[in-house]
């Protein structure tokens, strides 16, 4: 399950998607919209994606994770559009036989997703807005 969606992400669907009788461990990472960042109060977020390439890159992440760790199943779902405080921006669920691999693979996927997947986040403040990471 590799998706970009403009609808609210259902965590349970991601977990269901990685259900496997051979897995003893599932690690799920949920990235949510915080009400502050670097001491500025955040009103909402806007995510924009280069859909085709983003899904392609997310699929590559899933494949690479499965090469590095004994992954039974993996789900990577990213939201786009306008998100309010508390909304879920991304969910990654990784099922493996043993827990160490689930933790490591899940963390690698979210770390790498943030580096390579063409998705952009704009923070909206009371008075202003900013594309994150854009400037040095």
């Amino acid at each position: 399950m590799i998706e970009i969606t403009d609808q609210p992400i259902q965590v349970q669907s991601c977990i269901d998607a990685v259900q496997s009788e051979r897995a003893g461990a599932v690690d799920v990472f949920i990235g949510t919209v915080r009400n502050h960042n670097k001491n500025r109060e955040v009103v909402r977020l806007e995510f924009e994606a280069f859909d085709g390439m983003a899904v392609r890159k997310m699929r590559e992440l899933g494949e690479e994770a499965s090469r590095r760790w004994p992954v039974e199943k993996i789900a990577i779902v990213h939201r786009k559009g306008t998100l309010e405080i508390g909304d879920i921006a991304v969910v990654i669920a990784v099922a493996t036989p043993h827990r160490k691999d689930a933790f490591e693979a899940c963390r690698w996927v979210i770390d790498t997703l943030k580096e390579v997947v063409p998705i952009w986040k704009k923070e909206i403040y009371e008075n202003g807005e900013e594309w994150l990471e854009a400037h040095p």
Partner: protein
């Protein structure tokens, strides 16, 4: 040749549109495209990085472009 460049995030804001037509000599490479577009929009130089995707894959500066390529500017990503 004429290329249509797709724009996202802050590069869309800087250039003011989600698509832009660019005229390039035949055989132009990714680095030629970058050079030309940076000349036209100097504030692109303020970005932490600016990459080019050709057919949905990151492309090095030496890659030669053709008129059929799907080309996009990729400013620093910030998903997750």
């Amino acid at each position: 040749m004429e290329l249509t460049i797709h724009l996202y995030g802050i590069t869309r804001d800087i250039i003011g549109s989600s698509k832009k037509s660019v005229q390039l000599p035949d055989g132009a490479r990714v680095q030629d495209l970058l050079e030309q577009i940076r000349k036209e929009y100097p504030s692109l130089a303020e970005l932490k990085s600016l990459l080019v995707a050709v057919n949905e894959e990151y492309a090095e500066g030496e890659v030669v472009l053709t008129g059929r390529d799907d080309v996009a500017l990729i400013p620093p990503v910030s998903g997750g």
